[in-house]
């Protein structure tokens, strides 16, 4: 399963997409995200499975409703 990884540099800043990774479950996704992307100093970090993202619209395809 592909997970997208998000983080921010400081409190209050918007979340920024910083990459993705392959993991079989949430537990390993968290570990892999930390171990892969912790080189920089982050305020917080989040992962979410890509297949849980819901498209709203896309300029080429139009509205996804």
């Amino acid at each position: 399963m592909i997970y997208e990884v998000f983080a921010r540099k400081s409190r209050g800043e918007p979340l920024r997409h910083i990459g993705n990774l392959n993991a079989p479950d949430d537990d390993l996704a968290k570990v892999y995200a930390f171990q892969t992307y912790d080189e920089e100093k982050w305020f917080d970090m989040w992962v979410a499975p890509r297949d849980r993202f819901i498209e709203v619209f896309n300029v080429d395809r139009g509205a996804a409703v």
Partner: protein
């Protein structure tokens, strides 16, 4: 459990009670060598892990362990040691790393077992130093433990994954775990006079069988992932050939090829400065 009384803090090794100074140095060297070797075992799996992310995790964990080893070796200067000789000038027989790190793991489940069980043993030992009366250790332990959280999470998540996989994956993990357990439990050592002295001086807040009990509690959850909880019962600790200072079975040593790489033998000659 014994509780420490009249403990005085020591900012320097020279201020430690004479009765424990050598044992504190022994413990630091045991931890430093074990972390150097564990980091080496992780590094061997940067290539060859079952997925890229697991290889990256091994790179990250080896970097952490080598960093911890460095920091612990540096503490030995306070005990009059020449740190460069400690890091680069010792024979395999002088290493005090955990016996289960002597040979490279032959398969990924064996590496996972080391990650989950040997790394956990080092963490449990470090936790016992959190409030140490030897201040240079106390001041450094917390940062090490924070980094260890993700090592533990990696080991646990992988054991769970192998357990969930069933069949040969679970069998290989269960065999690897069973193969390590008694040696890791023995590593905490006997309830000896020297263990008691460390407790009484407030260097550690648990030693020997009380540390082993803390470890068993944590390990039980991990073994549950593999339905191998039974491995925890009836483990006999035989200390007849156990050397307390090195926490090793007398007469054993890590494999020479590993130590040659750890010391950097082949390429030390290029240090011309």
């Amino acid at each position: 459990m014994m509780t420490a009384t009249n403990v005085s803090e020591a900012a320097k090794a020279a201020a430690l009670p004479d009765a424990v100074r050598a044992a504190v140095r022994d413990l630091i060297l045991v931890l430093a060598d074990s972390k150097r070797l564990l980091g080496t075992r992780y590094a061997e799996w940067i290539l060859g892990a079952p997925e890229l992310e697991a290889g990256i995790a091994c790179a990250s964990m080896s970097q952490d362990e080598w960093g911890h080893g460095r920091l612990l070796y540096a503490l030995l200067r306070d005990f009059g040691d020449e740190v460069d000789r400690i890091e680069h000038g010792r024979d395999p027989a002088e290493y005090r790393s955990m016996g289960v790190l002597d040979a490279p793991p032959a398969s990924w489940p064996e590496l996972v077992a080391l990650n989950a069980l040997a790394d956990l043993a080092l963490t449990v030992q470090l936790e016992a130093l959190r409030g140490s009366s030897y201040l240079p250790l106390r001041q450094r332990v917390q940062k090490l433990l924070e980094e260890e959280q993700f090592h533990a999470a990696h080991g646990a998540a992988w054991l769970r994954r192998l357990g969930r996989g069933g069949g040969p994956a679970r069998d290989a993990a269960a065999t690897a775990v069973r193969g390590l357990l008694s040696a890791v439990l023995q590593w905490f050592g006997p309830d000896s006079a020297s263990a008691r002295a460390l407790l009484e001086a407030g260097i550690v807040d648990a030693a020997g069988s009380s540390l082993r009990a803390r470890y068993l509690e944590r390990a039980a959850a991990l073994l549950g992932e593999l339905d191998a909880d039974d491995a925890l019962t009836g483990v006999e600790n035989d200390f007849s050939r156990f050397d307390e200072a090195s926490r090793r079975v007398s007469g054993t040593a890590p494999d020479p090829a590993t130590i040659a790489r750890v010391r950097g033998d082949k390429n030390r000659a290029f240090l011309m400065d």
